[in-house]
């Protein structure tokens, strides 16, 4: 394209943006004295800004279009990191040191935010089993999260059951619900499955909201005990300690989840899941039990949501149905898709991205969600495969002679 064409296109884009941002940036209604202020200066600023941004972006793209076949610089560095053991070991060391010392370097607030992010990492990795590996689009994942949280809250409220007993119990109850949901939807796929799971998520939330006698309705359950530290109850006074403890607890769960999912992914079961995602009929014709494979994926995904649910209840010490809306499911699903389906580092990065960005965008005030949405759109336009796409295991047969 010639520079003139670039300029023309950029002008078109800037006009379009001026039109789009008109109600937001130009019209200002003052409700106190019933006046409307027209801020035309803003419009000119937007126009000039988008014009230059678009122009330089086009120039930049034009220059890189020649070597499109070659992997981008980012991909190359990533590959380099993956393949070189020294660099990856060093990075891992730095990462471990950073995560371990985090609560001692940063404030309680930051630690709390990071704990939440880590919880979403686990949720993302759990949903990744269902969506990323087995290819079952689940829009009601939050239901299992709620099941876990309410299991602990109710057990604690009525019977005083402690956190460590409730953790496996909550996971089990959630897994049971996973199978319960799995059985009727075994025949469904894609859009249909998405709708059914969406309905399931809403059913769980509505039951929690309306069955007051059992679940305490919209007012929720409060005074849930925090986890005990080797049998020692942490008293309310030491909340900073409790937060630090919670951080390490979640970190431990994250490590365990990564370990587990990584092993599963490269196992007989993991391969069966991926095959199921790729082609259901061929998968059955290869001797894979479709029903069982789907149910294990559902149950395992739910198990993780249940565990995080228990942790969530223990962390906030108060839960109500408002924490388990469809929005949560959507965010967890976005973590998986944005991070890269099936990719563990991708999901981890996606979780941090989606949890930390809105948190740190608070300074932007009203524009927070706008910036959040825009960054998601930009992400999907430029990296539809996710932040870090899934890399298949490679096998090397140079020296070895096969036995069979």
């Amino acid at each position: 394209m010639t520079p003139l064409k670039h300029i023309l296109r950029s002008i078109m884009i800037s006009i379009w943006f001026m039109f789009l941002t008109f109600p937001l940036m130009v019209v200002y209604i003052n409700p106190l004295n019933y006046t409307v202020t027209w801020r035309w200066k803003n419009m000119i600023m937007v126009g000039i800004g988008t014009f230059f941004a678009s122009f330089f972006w086009r120039r930049f793209q034009n220059r890189t279009v020649g070597n499109n076949d070659k992997p981008s610089l980012g991909q190359k560095t990533l590959n380099h990191i993956y393949t070189s053991p020294e660099i990856s070991r060093m990075l891992l060391g730095v990462l471990i040191l950073f995560t371990l010392s985090f609560p001692f370097i940063f404030s309680t607030y930051q630690t709390n935010v990071f704990t939440t992010a880590l919880m979403y990492v686990v949720l993302g990795l759990g949903l990744n089993i269902v969506v990323g590996l087995a290819g079952l689009l689940d829009l009601g994942y939050v239901a299992f999260y709620a099941v876990g949280a309410y299991s602990y809250a109710l057990l604690n409220h009525h019977f005083g059951v402690g956190f460590w007993v409730a953790l496996p119990l909550g996971a089990l109850v959630a897994a049971f619900f996973g199978i319960l949901l799995g059985i009727p939807v075994l025949r469904l796929r894609g859009d249909y499955l998405a709708i059914v799971t969406l309905g399931f998520g809403e059913i769980i939330r509505l039951i929690l909201e309306n069955w007051d006698k059992v679940f305490f309705g919209p007012s929720g359950i409060s005074n849930i005990s925090r986890p005990a530290f080797f049998g020692v109850e942490l008293v309310e006074k030491s909340i900073p300690h409790a937060i630090k403890y919670m951080y390490y607890l979640v970190l431990l769960l994250v490590l365990f989840t990564i370990f587990f999912v990584n092993r599963l992914k490269n196992s007989r079961i993991g391969r069966a899941w991926i095959a199921l995602r790729e082609d259901e009929i061929a998968c059955q014709a290869m001797g894979i039990n479709k029903m069982r494979t789907k149910l294990t994926a559902f149950a395992l995904g739910a198990t993780w949501a249940g565990m995080v649910g228990v942790i969530f209840a223990a962390k906030t010490t108060f839960i109500n149905p408002a924490s388990f809306t469809f929005m949560e499911s959507a965010i967890i699903l976005s973590i998986v898709v944005l991070g890269g389906m099936g990719s563990i580092p991708g999901v981890i990065l996606g979780a941090f991205f989606l949890v930390l960005l809105p948190e740190y965008f608070r300074t932007l005030g009203d524009y927070r969600m706008l910036a959040f949405g825009a960054s998601m759109v930009i992400m999907m336009v430029f990296r539809p495969q996710g932040l870090i796409s899934h890399i298949r295991t490679k096998y090397n047969f140079n020296a070895k002679e096969p036995l069979a």
Binding site: R268, D279, M286, I288, K290, A404
Partner: protein, 262 residues
């Protein structure tokens, strides 16, 4: 020789349409049998009935695995049929596109291996040995079909002919005694077709696997098969050796249409 697949009176209705009409067919151990017929004759429906994808309306499908008792497989789930030793390929290639060539074959080993979630988590000696077996077995199969250089390539990136071969290898990985090939030569060039004929011969003689194939390439059918079954409108209209089928007036009529002057 003993019959390994015996189909009697097989009928399949889809609503009011009778796709298979009282079909009889048998395959003996070590045979290469072809199933031919015009488009829409019901050949693929027949495959789907045998492999458990459809539950036939009537009739019997009797399978006799080597050194085992005869089993009726009507309406048995596809994965169990595969476990019994019937493996198939598909008319429109159904590979796992986003998995590597080796992984595709490794999936074929699924029904012959056992490790479960706990095994995958702990990865004890048994699981590791099994995993090693899967990898080596699959690689040996790849070598056999001549795709060992593309081990880590995605299945979708293979040329069409190689994809057909890979699908056959994947079916072989399930240790079948009867291989069902649905139009294995469709879309292949003459050279690839010749290679395919060699491969099928090799599978029969070296691996002692019987083969039932659907095919439209008459040259391939005539050179390869011991016996041929001909179908039209869901019915068997003829059966016999290639020589007999070639000169059968009923078959010629089904393929070329009836001469209106006669």
């Amino acid at each position: 020789m003993n019959v390994i697949l015996d189909v009697k009176n097989l009928t399949m209705d889809f609503g009011g349409v009778r796709a298979l009409n009282r079909l009889d067919l048998d395959i003996r151990a070590g045979e290469i049998v072809a199933l031919i017929g015009p488009n829409g004759a019901g050949k693929t429906t027949f495959f789907n009935c045998i492999t458990g994808i459809y539950n036939p309306t009537g009739g019997d499908i009797l399978v006799t695995p080597p050194q085992k008792k005869t089993v009726r497989v009507n309406g048995v789930k596809p994965h169990i049929v595969t476990r019994m030793g019937l493996a198939r390929t598909f008319q429109n290639i159904r590979l796992f596109q986003n998995m590597t060539v080796l992984e595709n074959i490794m999936i074929g080993r699924h029904c012959r291996t056992q490790s479960e979630i706990l095994g995958a988590l702990i990865r004890g000696p048994k699981t590791r040995a099994e995993e090693e077996h899967i990898v080596h077995y699959s690689y040996a199969l790849l070598k056999k079909i001549g795709l060992e250089r593309q081990v880590n390539e995605f299945a979708k990136n293979l040329p069409y002919g190689d994809q057909r071969r890979l699908e056959i290898a994947r079916a072989m990985a399930t240790d079948p005694f009867l291989l069902l090939l649905d139009e294995p030569a469709a879309g292949l060039n003459p050279q690839e077709t010749t290679d395919l004929v060699d491969l099928i011969h090799k599978i029969r003689t070296e691996d002692k696997i019987s083969i039932l194939l659907i095919e439209h390439d008459m040259k391939l059918v005539m050179t390869l098969s011991d016996r041929i079954f001909v179908m039209d409108y869901g019915k068997k209209i003829a059966q016999g050796t290639p020589g007999e089928i070639r000169n059968n007036p009923v078959v010629i009529k089904a393929y070329l249409g009836e001469d209106s002057d006669a």
